[in-house]
């Protein structure tokens, strides 16, 4: 058997401490899920950055198309009324 293609790419998510959410921190190549977890630990948590690691095959992530950016996200620009701070609350509920 000949060495074939490169190892697949994985996205790495690290949780800094209990209670916080996992944050995307980078990617790496690994041959299988277990190796991906181990290498994520070695590459991304060696300075005490984490207490938990997730890895996801990069090709399993469905991303929005950058070409759709204007259509998807620009229309939100002028809709300040979607923020709760846009509304003045009655005095009786000032501790919302």
């Amino acid at each position: 058997m000949k060495p074939t293609a490169e190892w697949p790419l994985w996205e790495v998510f690290v949780r800094a401490k209990a209670g916080l959410d996992h944050k995307h921190c980078g990617s790496l190549h690994a041959p299988d899920p277990k190796a991906a977890i181990q290498l994520a630990r070695d590459v991304y948590t060696r300075r005490q950055e984490g207490t938990s690691v997730w890895v996801v095959r990069s090709d399993q992530i469905i991303a929005s198309d950058p070409a759709d950016k204007a259509m998807y996200f620009d229309p939100m620009e002028d809709k300040v009324y979607r923020h709760p701070t846009f509304y003045e609350l009655p005095k009786s509920v000032d501790h919302m």
Partner: protein
């Protein structure tokens, strides 16, 4: 050049130095992979592993220095001894990137040594020496990860492609003659066992076998027959590779005495 130090080698000091030097020299060989591993991710993993071992060596050398009583300190013990005053397993001083050895030898050695250190740390964590017990308890966690990481590589290569299987089996044939030393008792072991400082080397054989057997089975590896050859690094008699390793490892401290970061 700085002169070498001479040590008062009681059995206890020797016992601790055997473990310290095994970690130190193993770390030195792994450090040679820095910047050269087959993939970036494993390059970092091997460096991490080496640094864990170096940390274990530092703690043990500091402790050995205290037991020895000469006030030398960890740096002098690490860098200013002569070859016959190092007591590491011969296995860990053999080249990993030259002389026919390769990445398979590296992962196999990490596995063999981690499977040996794991039961050693476990036994040492109940040593009559509380300092040694504390060092062992901390190291045990690191070694558990090393064992798993290396075992996975042994299986991945041993049960991988024809080429990786051939290389892993060849690595096993190269390493095997040096494995007997891992369990070879002498007076130092007997004294440590009697005084409950730590286990004799022979006590590590059964737990070691129990951890390597299933991994070798999954990796489709067959150890060669045991031979009559015995290495004696733990007694200070080393292979021809040790002098070169020490020359490189000691160079800075000998050329710039007392140099620190």
């Amino acid at each position: 050049m700085t002169a070498s130090i001479r040590l008062q080698l009681t059995p206890d000091v020797r016992y601790v130095l055997r473990i310290a030097d095994t970690c130190l020299v193993h770390a030195q060989r792994l450090a040679e992979w820095c910047g050269h591993a087959p993939v970036l991710e494993e390059d970092i993993a091997l460096s991490n592993l080496g640094l864990d071992l170096l940390g274990q060596a530092r703690a043990l050398l500091t402790h050995a220095s205290r037991l020895e009583g000469g006030g030398h300190g960890e740096d002098a013990l690490a860098f200013l001894r002569d070859e016959h005053d190092y007591f590491n397993l011969t296995l860990v001083e053999l080249p990993l990137r030259r002389g026919g050895a390769d990445f398979a030898d590296t992962q196999l050695r990490c596995f063999i040594v981690a499977a040996w250190l794991a039961p050693l740390w476990q036994d040492l964590s109940t040593s009559r020496d509380p300092e040694l017990a504390a060092i062992a308890a901390k190291a045990a966690k690191e070694t558990r990860y090393h064992l798993e990481h290396a075992a996975d590589w042994v299986v991945r290569l041993g049960d991988g492609s024809d080429e990786s299987a051939r290389r892993m089996q060849a690595a096993l044939v190269r390493a095997w003659p040096y494995v007997a030393e891992l369990f070879d008792d002498d007076a130092v072991d007997a004294a440590a066992a009697a005084s409950r400082l730590g286990p004799p080397a022979s006590a590590l054989r059964e737990p070691w076998l129990a951890s390597i057997r299933p991994v070798f089975a999954d990796a489709r590896l067959t150890p060669p027959a045991d031979g009559a050859f015995r290495s004696h690094g733990r007694r200070g008699t080393h292979s021809e590779h040790m002098g070169y390793l020490l020359a490189e490892m000691q160079h800075l401290q000998r050329a710039f005495p007392g140099g620190v970061w």
